[in-house]
């Protein structure tokens, strides 16, 4: 038992710190609008998810972590980064829980609390895309792929596909840049400042 709580008997009842774990389900509900306690683990989502084999927890198991308030495990798991939001799970859930929205809420929470992403390369990729939008207002795919290569240092993986795309002129060398870039740049500042 937490010693600070047993002391509270003798002294004036002050603010008793409550472990944030207890509020995980509530926080997720606030952010995603979804009630995780509705899930009774029929595993429809786990059976339907195309990416479940790459996950460490099945989608319903992620919900279980949230139900139990296992904050570190939920925010630090791979599954929330593997999820692409295809909504296979959400459309199959008999309780109509939007699981993809919950995954999204967990990602936001993990970023805000600085929990290291269990899939750093996926996070790195997203960052490169965001950086590209910040610079040009649109995504420049060749630039994103090259910077992603620098990040992962896997120089030669996927080289064949990249060369094919270049040969087919599918990757533009020059980025398309919007005129009024100043209209969107201010929105990026809080993002980088928050250390995401």
């Amino acid at each position: 038992m937490n010693p600070s709580i047993s002391l509270a008997r003798d002294v004036e009842p002050a603010v008793v710190p409550v472990r944030p774990e207890r509020f995980l389900a509530e926080e997720i509900k606030e952010r995603s609008g979804e009630e995780v306690h509705r899930c009774y683990h029929c595993q429809s989502c786990a059976n339907g998810c195309p990416f479940v084999q790459a996950m460490d927890y099945t989608p319903n198991a992620v919900l279980r972590l949230v139900q139990y308030g296992m904050r570190q495990e939920a925010l630090g798991c791979r599954s929330i980064w593997i999820c692409v939001g295809c909504h296979s799970c959400s459309s199959q859930c008999p309780m109509a829980i939007d699981l993809a929205a919950i995954m999204g809420a967990l990602r936001y929470l993990a970023l805000e609390e600085g929990v290291p992403a269990a899939e750093p390369y996926i996070l790195g990729f997203h960052r490169e895309v965001v950086r590209s939008i910040e610079r040009y207002g649109r995504t420049h795919k060749l630039g994103i792929m090259l910077r992603y290569k620098v990040l992962t240092r896997r120089w030669f993986s996927d080289m064949d596909v990249g060369l094919k795309l270049l040969a087919k002129r599918k990757l533009d060398f020059k980025a398309s840049r919007i005129e009024a870039i100043g209209e969107i740049t201010p929105f990026f500042k809080p993002f980088w400042e928050a250390g995401k």
Binding site: D98, R107, H126, T139, K141, K164, S176, A180, F187, F188
Partner: protein, 285 residues
């Protein structure tokens, strides 16, 4: 929709259609020209903020989508072809309806109104609404003999937040069978293509793409026709199984049937060359 003025639309291409999937864009523009639909590109549009921006920051992705809405004229429907952009723009519109403060803050910043009741429609919806007589009248090449497996990807009708809104399943089949093609059932039509995992984790995506393409081969399809430019790319680059069949974007087949002649430029950009198939069916020279 029958008056001449009603045929003007704003058009949001999105990053994919403007770059990697330029052939989808070109063919769609061609089809529109033939059908007398005047698509006017939103001036200085930016990325809709879907996918990566949405994964990392809610406010940022909201602002990115909202700026595009602020560029649109309220009296013209906004046509979108990319399912992801469509979803993002519609979702943002819904969100701003519920958050008037956010809307006003953004309007003030940009000095432009965000039209609250702007109609945001998918390209297929425009065709269906216009009616099939137009398509039949415009048909130059019959697609007779072309057996295709329709592939919508995950975004066109899945997102629960938009589930009480328009539904697109079946429209691609309706349009292309009107033009003479034969739609096959039984293949995966809405299984996810892998989205950004195709870039970061191809080893996860390849087996899934092989299943999707394999399911189309198994029902005897000559090709897959997708509604999404990113799906089209992922299905082409991540398929490692044999036989590979051509993957078309919906607009390419549409424009071809309507008599477009500049198809050489589009098909040359495919990783799986569709020309042998189309030559066999006497659809191209």
């Amino acid at each position: 929709m029958n008056q001449a003025a009603a045929q003007d639309f704003s058009y949001f291409p999105g990053c994919s259609m403007a770059s990697t999937a330029a052939e989808s864009n070109l063919s769609m523009m061609k089809a529109c020209k033939i059908l007398g639909l005047n698509l006017i590109e939103l001036e200085d549009w930016n990325c809709c903020g879907s996918s990566s921006a949405e994964c990392l920051d809610k406010n940022l992705s909201l602002a990115l989508a909202a700026r595009n809405l602020s560029l649109a004229r309220p009296d013209r429907p906004l046509v979108v072809m990319c399912p992801r952009c469509l979803h993002k723009l519609r979702y943002t519109q819904l969100l701003l309806k519920n958050e008037p403060k956010t809307r006003r803050r953004l309007e003030y910043r940009w000095g432009r109104a965000i039209p609250p009741n702007l109609e945001i429609v998918h390209f297929m919806e425009v065709l269906v609404r216009n009616g099939f007589p137009d398509l039949r009248a415009g048909k130059v090449r019959s697609l007779k003999g072309l057996k295709f497996a329709p592939y919508y990807g995950c975004t066109l009708f899945r997102p629960p937040i938009l589930s009480r809104r328009k539904y697109y399943q079946g429209e691609m089949e309706n349009i292309l069978t009107t033009l003479g093609a034969q739609a096959l059932v039984g293949a995966y039509t809405n299984r996810c293509c892998g989205s950004f995992l195709s870039a970061t984790n191809p080893e996860i995506v390849s087996p899934l793409v092989n299943e999707i393409v394999g399911s189309a081969v198994a029902v005897g399809a000559h090709c897959l026709v997708t509604a999404c430019a990113m799906c089209q790319l992922n299905l082409e680059i991540r398929c490692t199984a044999e036989p590979k069949i051509p993957i078309f974007h919906f607009s390419e087949i549409l424009a071809l049937a309507l008599g477009a002649t500049d198809y050489e430029d589009w098909f040359a950009r495919h990783l799986v060359d569709p020309r042998p198939l189309l030559q066999e069916l006497a659809l191209v020279a």
